[in-house]
Symmetry: C3
């Protein structure tokens, strides 16, 4: 398909073994709709392996003329994704942090800039990076369970969401809601997330897949080319901002995460998670 959205640099880990066991990709060739199902227990966190597999899968789908849309969902009960894998950010080398961060950027560029229709079928909690992937889709459906929470809660962990997380958030919920939610590091129960516009609709869990397919069909009814150019027009400014500052953003992350104070916070946070 024609590609008005071409924000993507070269995938940074082309030689990495393609494990293909963290994400289940299924393509229904009759409808042109793929499903990417995250199955990396316990919480689908974005390890470097996960991210690499994610980006390779996205690239394959993007280049497959038989595929026009992709649904993201989780195979792990109660969690969509917990976001970045903290073990990748703790006790590793500067080179590792940089490689990891480039993979996070690449994931976002591929989802936010995708030519395909992207639908998040959020069937569990979705903090931080999990929320980011949902925010980067064209449409978000969440299970109506108020125990499932979603938000960019970085501030709660003593860290700051990168500017492109913020830009993506502002484009979905507007400046005021983003400002308040980001500063408080809020995790919103599904009904609140709907009210704030963070997700587009809620459905009972057993209806989620069916509804995602129906929404996808509605978006695929449009001619691809016009829809893709329109999407690009809406998202280009925000995509270009990261592309223009990608290396700088990586260096910021590396120098931030290597700080002893941050390493200490992250170790304490991991200890706390282990005890749970």
């Amino acid at each position: 398909p024609p590609s008005p959205l071409q924000p993507l640099g070269i995938l940074r880990a082309p030689c990495r073994a393609f494990s293909n066991n963290k994400i289940l990709v299924e393509l229904d060739e009759s409808t042109g709709v793929a499903t990417m199902k995250f199955k990396s227990p316990p919480v689908n966190s974005y390890s470097l392996d996960f991210l690499t597999e994610f980006c390779i899968s996205m690239e394959k789908l993007e280049n497959n003329r038989a595929c026009r849309g992709v649904i993201f969902t989780s195979a792990v009960p109660k969690i969509f994704s917990a976001g970045l894998d903290i073990t990748e950010m703790c006790g590793k080398s500067m080179e590792h942090y940089a490689e990891f961060w480039r993979a996070v950027q690449e994931m976002w560029l591929r989802v936010y800039g995708s030519n395909m229709v992207t639908v998040a079928a959020v069937n569990g909690s979705s903090p931080a990076g999990g929320c980011l992937v949902a925010l980067s889709c064209d449409y978000r459906i969440m299970v109506e369970n108020p125990k499932f929470i979603i938000g960019l809660n970085e501030a709660q962990l003593g860290i700051v969401a990168p500017f492109w997380f913020k830009d993506t958030f502002v484009n979905v919920v507007g400046h005021r809601i983003a400002e308040r939610s980001l500063q408080l590091g809020s995790l919103h129960p599904a009904p609140d997330a709907l009210k704030l516009g963070l997700v587009d609709e809620l459905v009972p869990e057993e209806k989620l897949q069916e509804r995602a397919v129906a929404v996808m069909a509605q978006w695929l009814a449009l001619p691809d080319h016009a829809r893709q150019l329109t999407k690009s027009m809406m998202r280009k400014a925000v995509l270009d901002r990261l592309i223009a500052h990608r290396e700088e953003d990586t260096q910021n992350f590396v120098s931030f995460v290597s700080k002893e104070s941050i390493q200490k916070s992250l170790r304490m946070y991991m200890e706390m998670l282990k005890k749970k």
Copy 2:
């Protein structure tokens, strides 16, 4: 009146015969309020003649110190305006496409940048360019009939709304609603349009004129100069963006619309309309 908003180039068709039969302009000198009533059946589409007449009428009102506000409405039942006249975009010369597009730009610059108070009294459906004129006013009142629909549905026709349509839309409904509505090429029934903020209020058809006059009086109660400067402050960035890229935008339109694939789509679309 003082003119803080001066985005307008020279009107491009100064020698065109002023037909003055597609728009009925009435000025109530006692209130300073003009009404521009579109009467170009069957659907008030923006032909080059319509646009020329529109721009000349606007210029006259803008320069008339007795006129402080203008209400746009339709004399054709059930339709406000269907937007751009597709016959102007089909089987004509490159020069014609360019002239037509400059007239479309001129219309928008004159409405969005008007020093007058502008109120859209939307008494029928208002797709594409029809919606654009409504979005460019200071206030939008729509008849509450759910059969009347409004939206920027370009993507449905396989074409892409220009960036300044998009900017105008985002300024009214925000980024998220614009992104979704533009990609889907949605035409929203009046009640949905109200919920989305696309129009400001709904009234029964028989109350429309009265309500438009009352709203106008409320806006005219403000001192012109302060109101005009405030309006300019809010709209200048978006106006300047087209003014800075006007010729480029025209060339984009011309090269897009001259493509054989687009000509074919437009011919098919016209055939479909004729059969209706």
Copy 3:
């Protein structure tokens, strides 16, 4: 505390006598929360003395490691603040107007760019500059009395809100609501202000203080550093815009306010206020 937000120039009136009788500042060292209570009857207007005292108080709190948050409220019944003191803008020298305007800018820079958590406890009407201070806080609670009104009503007085008032307003309520409200110079009763997003919540007057303290505690539960950096990320663009054009903005104000036509309007407005 670390200071990611450093928009502040040198305070322009360092030798001014520090009257310290227009604002009551109380710091609860056990919670780290200060209260700045405006007590400048009849309407807490921002005279040069008020502004100087305000900025000095803010600077002291900002530099006091024991202080992490500040609540703004009024000691005068029924009024939060009426905004700029018109007597400072009438019949004075150009130098005086410039000094006054720099103090207004300084107040905004200090509140909008504060590293502290800022909560407005709006216990009375809050037009113009009064509204600006509320809009510049992290959170706004207003007494639910519909007789209390709030808004940027400059256009009603024949003047134009500066671009940074507008930017602050747009960041809170979005472009469309700001455009309409600014052009009409609307003063919104508390319930309408809540619906428009101009304030975050309404409470009965007797609950205001308690609620402000509870909200503050919620915001202070976050680690300061991450919250401050997040706040800076959200507000930096708008702060930088005034900082980059501060002197130009001052000269605009001075030349505007010195016009005979404006002086005449302001004198008439003051006469009207005196008769009330």
